[in-house]
């Protein structure tokens, strides 16, 4: 009697569950529910990765991999055709690993190289995209993708409720650096400066070397698949550019990725690059860097041909 009642309840619950899933997927396929861009940095990483893996890109893409520095640059640019695999809190290795596992047409991949490469590969993100069964499930049913998480979709709907989709975008007349931005910048630089003036410890250098070996292997594998690989670093705050650590890391990476084997993009012109926190460029400077990268990638690929 207990068992029968329990099984009855279970079946009714499952029926309700399947019905709700079918309804939700139907609303997505019908274009009723919008995709979200993510409510947290983790969600943003996953969504951008999933969109590349499950939706792909037409033709040979330009893919930019890196950390939140790259994500920040690409987030402020209007370069719609490029694929941004900059990982907030992450490293180029994660983006490169996504490319290695995807079966899309190879194009150009730009790899951000700096001290962020010593961060670990995001195994959880990769498993969430390529895990057995998960890949097929999310490929077939978009409701299981991170961009369609119900609460993220709800927040997106609430956030854009009053917006007129037909309205022309407002002119961006915001100043490059407000007084408040400048204050924050000064504080962040002052906080970071003592650490940046310390040389890398033996353990830190070992970690960078170890990660570099892994990235070298990833690059070799991608080149074998037909990808053209370009390396770059992104400008940090100009007030920290000549610190001991910054210079040491640059020299180390030049040694680990020599220009006779790897193709480096030219560095952006030296100027007062401003950040909001000592690392991430302010909006206007991020846009300039994105435009510079775009131009240099085109020039470099043209000269290669």
């Amino acid at each position: 009697m207990r068992m029968r009642a329990g099984i009855q309840g279970l079946l009714l619950t499952l029926a309700s569950f399947v019905g709700l899933l079918a309804l939700y997927q139907g609303l997505i396929w019908g274009g009723v529910l919008p995709a979200s861009g993510g409510m947290t940095q983790w969600e943003e990483n996953v969504i951008r990765s999933e969109r590349y893996v499950y939706d792909g890109v037409t033709g040979a893409p330009v893919v930019l991999t890196g950390s939140s520095l790259m994500a920040n640059v690409m987030g402020h640019s209007d370069w719609d055709t490029a694929v941004d695999l900059g990982m907030n809190g992450g490293t180029s290795q994660s983006g490169l690993e996504i490319l290695r596992h995807s079966a899309h047409t190879p194009g150009v991949v730009v790899v951000e190289l700096n001290d962020t490469i010593s961060r670990p590969l995001d195994g959880k993100l990769l498993e969430g995209i390529f895990g057995p069964g998960i890949y097929q499930l999310r490929n077939a049913f978009s409701m299981f993708r991170t961009e369609y998480r119900p609460l993220s979709v709800l927040v997106r709907i609430l956030a854009t409720y009053d917006n007129d989709p037909n309205a022309a975008p407002a002119d961006d007349t915001r100043p490059r650096l407000t007084a408040r931005d400048q204050q924050r910048r000064e504080r962040a630089v002052a906080r970071a400066y003592p650490t940046m003036m310390q040389p890398l410890s033996a353990a830190e250098e070992t970690e960078i070397r170890r990660s570099a070996v892994a990235i070298q292997q990833q690059i070799t594998d991608l080149e074998a698949q037909g990808w053209r690989v370009l390396l770059t670093d992104l400008p940090r705050d100009s007030k920290l550019a000549t610190t001991t650590r910054e210079q040491q890391v640059r020299a180390l990476l030049q040694e680990l990725f020599p220009s006779d084997r790897y193709r480096w993009l030219p560095e952006p012109p030296a100027r007062d690059w401003a950040t909001r926190d000592g690392s991430h460029l302010v909006r206007a400077d991020a846009r300039d860097v994105a435009a510079f990268l775009r131009e240099q990638i085109a020039v470099t690929m043209a000269s290669a041909e």
Binding site: L12, L14, R149, P150
Partner: protein, 499 residues
Amino acid sequence: MLFTSREFFVLYAVTFLLYYLPPLRRIQVGILIVASLSFYAWSDPALLLLLIGSIAINSLASYMVAFNRERRARIAWATAGILLNLGILVLFKYGALVTNLFLQSFGVAATPTEGLAYLLLHMPLPIGISFYTFEGISLVVDTLRQEHDAELGKSRHGWDVDRNFLKHVANTSFFVAFFPHLIAGPVLKAKSFFPQIKPKALGEINWDLTLRSLLIGYFLKVFVADNLQDYTFWLTYPYYQTQGTITNLVLLYGYSIQIFADFAGYSLIAIGLAAGLGYELMQNFNFPYISRSLAEFWRRWHISLSTWLRDYLYIPLGGNRKGEPRTYLNLLIVMTLGGLWHGSTWSYAIWGVFHGLGLGVERFFKLDRVSEGAVAGSWLRRWLVDGLRVVAIFGFVTVGWVFFKLPDFGQALDFFATLPANLTQAPALLRIVPVILYSIPVLLYHLPHYPTILEGGLEPLARHSRVFWRAGQYAVYGLMLTLLALNPGSSEAFIYFQF
């Protein structure tokens, strides 16, 4: 091994299948012991030795207490059992704290790099140690009390230590290590668990309890707590320093919801898993956030720990039987030690003192009596008065959670100092709105038990339309499953695993 991991689902499925095979019915307890030890050893096999050692100590101590004719010998064995359990707990959990205090007292500035001090400062914290040592103590004390009562001619408490020592070791192993409750409770009592140890059949499973507990438990943990943690992360140092006051307060509220959802979710999962194997674990949470007094809160929150502290600490200290001043002191001692049980930093002790003082003040002004009986007057008046009380107690408890989120006492104080300093900063809606949305299920979970509603009763509503009521229930369950499938949070260890 987390309850939300793939490995655990495999372990439980295999255990369940073997457990109910008719030819293996006689060794059901053995199957669960093996499964439990495997579960514990998964994260760190070396620490399994400590668990086995604890089982051995408690088996021997309780056996000697049960079958020793001399009262003094029984007390000696019980004392030895209690001290050994406490010794293990103090060594592994408070070794570093005590060592640091010792070093500071003697003005030793340099951190030791070898020797006993180094060892004590780097002791691993075995998972579940706070729970299984307390259970060992309760086994030994309950056995002693039972024997003393039997000597005085009182009836036995409905359970007995098995005369066969090996059988008793098996029962004790099962009691201590049973995997649903091993890592984070509920803290079991021997007198309620031992009588349940017998062969179980598939047809005896309480499917309604099992499935409902598992569904609600996983929903609270995976959907509510695991998602909220992505936002309450911003309450850590130094991030809260750059956030506005409203944002920080909402995130703190979110942490209050998260810690409930995490721990209550875990407890419900434990109850469901145990029920699937035929064992009933005690309820650990009874809708604590609708408490109208702090005393009521402690009757509804982490019930297994609060009753343990009452039965094995508060009452032996004299409880409320030694006059008012002694009662306040006992409350303070018990709550401070209860705070320290959670962790070996001063923040946890301060949290305990905070609640101890709160209970004392409440008792002094007789505010703890407010939970007894309904407020007089109209329904609206009762609703408002209850509402104010519930909000006040929730606010008090939430302030206390700062010491859990920021175990560094200096950071906790800094957080409070940041609140008035950042009043003019704009609220971060992208953090506030999700926190409010994710907390709604917990509010709805508590709502039917809100005092005025509960006293009004939901039964008339259910009686009028039983079909729709049941259909609505299954629709809600279906919705919970849907949200679990589509909107899970990042799988992380349960908060109480660290205690």
